[in-house]
Amino acid sequence: RETFVGDQVLEVTPKNEDQIKNLLELEAEEDLQLDFWKSPTTSGETVHVRVPFVSLQAVKVFLELQGIDYSIMIEDVQALLDEEKEEMLLNQRER
């Protein structure tokens, strides 16, 4: 089973077309294994991207260098998945 320990989901807000272009370049970088939940579209529109733990540093540095605003939407994806799994197990026991 794939785990997502330490993976984060970032909410990124590109301010202009150049920043969207930067994000599209980032999306094309297959080595980073980014999972875009909401892809870059227009400026001001938020982008949601799951970043594997191993790529976090590189991605954050990239965003900061380009001056692209971002915040952490999900701190640890695996923690949420564990909660979800526990909830399902609990429900199965109730049934």
Binding site: E30, D35, W37, S39, T41, L80, M88
Partner: protein
């Protein structure tokens, strides 16, 4: 056995059991139609709501992208609502007296199972081609509508990979074949999550459809209906010019095939959880979505073509 909890997420087996239960409880209204099977040979089961005869029909599907769990949950809640409230709710009763409804709660069963057992973030099908390292195709880039155009990837490892050819995914082909063989669908609605959008054609091109004004009016009305319950705000527009360009999508195919009322929902986004939307949000999501669906289906019922 009647104690299914619609307010939590369930495995595919549990969903299929509950579909059978709904059929068993409402034999004069609901039946199960098998329209094919997935790549890994899981059945593709549709719930048919019909009061008899050959009526024009509405198509509803959910969960073509496996990880969008709130959509499968919403579809099942909707199925139960329609089944239990026929004969009591004026809208449901009048709709089913005039039209049939086909509801596919799990459009991508292999992906759904994989999202439960191996990778919660899985979006695509689980098809494999010899000699190709990556598994799966984005089934909402695989329809014969601007296939392989902008907004779809030609890289097999991408989450939006369009596949080797249009309808290469057996899940997509099964729906296409069924809709063609039925021959009398008047509306096609697909349910996704999350971003709070209500979209209509086109996605593979950025020009307006011939019926833009009408579809826009119907969608705006439906979005207002969604918002009326909990204040959830939707953005409305054609996929391409308002939202994003994406080729090979199902509603574009349906529209070009002649199904005028074609819409795609992207259900609610709390702005924090995305595809991991907590189970306690299933009920409010389903309830507000129902109001939007009702608004569209009311229009379809009253505007035959």
């Amino acid at each position: 056995n009647g104690n299914f909890n619609f307010e939590t997420y369930h495995t595919l087996d549990e969903i299929y059991q509950e579909m059978d239960h709904i059929v068993a409880e409402h034999p004069g209204l609901v039946s199960k139609v098998n329209i094919g099977h997935s790549f890994e040979k899981r059945p593709m089961n549709v719930l048919k709501f019909s009061t008899g005869g050959n009526k024009p029909a509405i198509w509803l599907d959910a969960g073509i992208h496996a990880r969008e769990w709130v959509t499968q949950a919403t579809a099942l809640w909707t199925a139960n609502k329609i089944a239990t409230e026929y004969g009591k709710d004026a809208f449901i009763t009048s709709l089913l007296d005039q039209m049939d409804l086909f509801l596919l709660p799990v459009t991508n069963p292999d992906g759904y199972v994989f999202s439960h057992t191996s990778n919660r973030m899985w979006r695509k099908t689980r098809s494999r081609v010899a000699g190709r390292a990556c598994v799966g195709v984005d089934p909402n880039r695989n329809w014969d509508a601007g296939f392989a155009g902008p907004g779809a990837s030609n890289k097999p490892c991408s989450d939006s990979y369009h596949g080797p050819s249009a309808n290469s995914e057996v899940e997509v082909k099964s729906i296409v074949d069924f809709i063609k063989s039925h021959g009398n669908f008047k509306a096609f609605i697909t349910i996704h999550s999350y971003s709070q959008l209500l979209m209509f054609p086109y996605g593979y091109k950025c020009s307006k459809s011939d019926t833009f004004d009408e579809l826009n009016q119907v969608a705006q009305q439906a979005a207002k209906a969604v918002e009326s319950l909990y204040g959830t705000k939707y953005r409305v527009g054609p996929i391409c010019s308002v939202i994003y360009q994406a080729s090979g999508g199902s509603i574009d195919w349906a529209y070009d095939y002649g199904i005028r009322y074609s819409f795609a929902f992207e259900l609610r986004d709390t702005g924090r959880y995305g595809f991991l939307l907590p189970a306690k949000q299933i009920l409010p999501t389903a309830q507000e979505t129902w109001l939007g669906l009702q608004s569209i289906m009311e229009y379809v019922r009253d505007h035959p073509y």
